[in-house]
Symmetry: C2
Subunit: 329 residues, 2 copies
């Protein structure tokens, strides 16, 4: 499929990010709408805390927008996306459950914009989130086990982000086009090296996006990948170079931005929340300050499950890209 162009230019009229203590101590700490230092967020389980992150982000974004949305697009990493689904009991709006692993923030944003473009709704919400403790328990081992993390591993971000899009309220920031990802599998089997598994999908989406839109990296103030981490970022740079694109110094990985090296997170951050809080914190902040006018936001996902790994499968990846830009009326 070619890139989707949104003629209605759905505007970003509200955004909100809520992040945990570790994230607040990282380089992006000051850009988050809210910090929640209690890893349980006042709840009795980490799963309930993750759910509360979702409700907080969605309600925060709606309040910031000052306009009532009609439908929510959201997803998370937990089995059966229970964080998003259960959060929607409280939000009460029609709900489209999305799963794109850590690419979910971009995937939700694309669908939320497409519903506006189709005239199916005037105001929509896109959201995604994750929690370090729930992801560790589900994908790896419970925290109580105290296992040692391999140096290629990444740290799941505790946080959620939500974006409100609308074609009725004014805002200078719009979602103008998007490229939906394909599932790409280069045969990586190491679950502790997700960056390497996702980089080929990121390269595929970026290349298709550049070709379709006849743009090059220099046409964007910044290009973000979701959570490739250090290894994945390097792999993506190399893969793009082979295809004739030099990402240069305008390319950043949310996973590398979100934590400082001294926070001991190995290759960087990951999880649906990683790109969600970076978009709805740092990136929108930069737009508001006038530093960014056009950004290519590409969240990346590793489409594995513990079962597929146990069964010896390789790890397919996917990457979804959205262009956010400042537009005149």
């Amino acid at each position: 499929m070619s890139t989707i162009y949104f003629q209605k230019q759905p505007r970003i009229v509200g955004w909100y990010s809520v992040a945990g203590k570790k994230e607040s101590e990282g380089p992006l700490g000051k850009t988050f709408s809210r910090i929640e230092k209690d890893e349980y967020f006042g709840e009795k389980t980490h799963e309930c805390a993750e759910r509360k992150l979702f409700v907080t982000a969605i309600e925060g974004a709606i309040q910031a927008a000052g306009i009532e949305p009609e439908i929510v697009f959201a997803g998370d990493l937990l089995n059966q996306i229970v964080s998003a689904s259960f959060a929607m009991r409280d939000v009460g709006l029609p709900f489209v459950g999305m799963y794109g692993a850590c690419s979910t923030m971009a995937l939700s944003l694309i669908n939320a914009a497409t519903f506006i473009e189709a005239g199916a709704a005037h105001t929509t919400v896109a959201a995604a989130g994750s929690h370090f403790a729930t992801a560790e328990r589900q994908y790896r081992t419970p925290l109580e086990f105290g296992n040692q993390r391999p140096p290629t591993s990444q740290w799941t971000v505790t946080g959620a982000g939500a974006t409100v899009l609308s074609d009725t309220k004014k805002s200078p920031y719009a979602v103008t086009c998007a490229t939906v990802g394909r599932v790409i599998d280069y045969g990586v089997k190491d679950v502790n090296n997700m960056g390497a598994a996702m980089a080929p999908a990121a390269a595929d989406t970026l290349e298709r996006h550049f070709i379709n839109t006849k743009t090059k990296p220099a046409d964007y103030d910044a290009i973000f990948s979701g959570d490739l981490g250090q290894i994945g970022e390097e792999a993506l740079r190399d893969l793009l170079k082979e295809r004739g694109y030099d990402l240069g110094d305008r390319y950043y990985d949310c996973g590398k931005l979100v934590y400082a090296v001294q926070q001991k997170v190995d290759m960087g951050g990951s999880g649906c929340g990683c790109s969600a809080v970076t978009l709805n914190g740092f990136i929108m902040d930069k737009f508001k300050r006038g530093d960014y006018h056009k950004v290519l936001f590409m969240a990346t996902g590793a489409l594995l499950s513990p079962t597929t790994c146990f069964q010896g499968e390789t790890i397919p990846g996917i990457a979804n890209a959205v262009v956010i830009e400042e537009v005149t009326e």
Copy 2:
């Protein structure tokens, strides 16, 4: 949100259903495009078999349509929707992962139609599927355990269905409008009584759909719910009666249709595959024979995970409704 009206009336230009042995022995057996009697589908695990059901259904629908689609919307019940995701490695098209539990066939169809309405694509595919053995292992106990099933339980359908929509190819059957579901939770905790958990969500979607579209049950040749089963069907009839709607004899539940009583499936069929094979087998067959001209297809989902159950949570439900009708040019 109000009901979505598709002005472009995306046409159903191809459909395909593949189902297992038990399903082939049920009342709908003759309506399926393909029967696969080997529960492993020639693969080494049931998970791989489920994935192959997906590829078979998607490729079958594309072949039936005779037109190349641009994007696929699909989901399943397995953790991280790995059946759909891994199947997309073989299909190779851009992919939007959906999760609506057993409501996924309708949810995918709505999104596939909306992308066409938005002009984001001309030809799209919606797909969903499930496998009895993978669902038992993940949600309940592995088959080898040989546990006794409570009489309120349902039997996960082994099968997958896919529908190709297009605004470029002609066909008399169109997706004309849709109502996206809200997450509704009446506090049911019994994981062996999903019908009761989903019925309130089904009632909410149906009532909103009837009010929005100013239609009543008699305006449809048939109304289908996904997999409420016997208890859920009765609960839905009662809930709708309280709201002033008599579903009468035009209402059917795919879960009740798919198996015969003597097949010992307790309350009936369930799983993403249940409504997917019924739509892409029995229902489209009825359209083709001229028995149906306008159908309200509402797939229903229970948004639980084993983790939420272990943590004592109740079971939220959701239901997504799509109108399929015969249209003149």
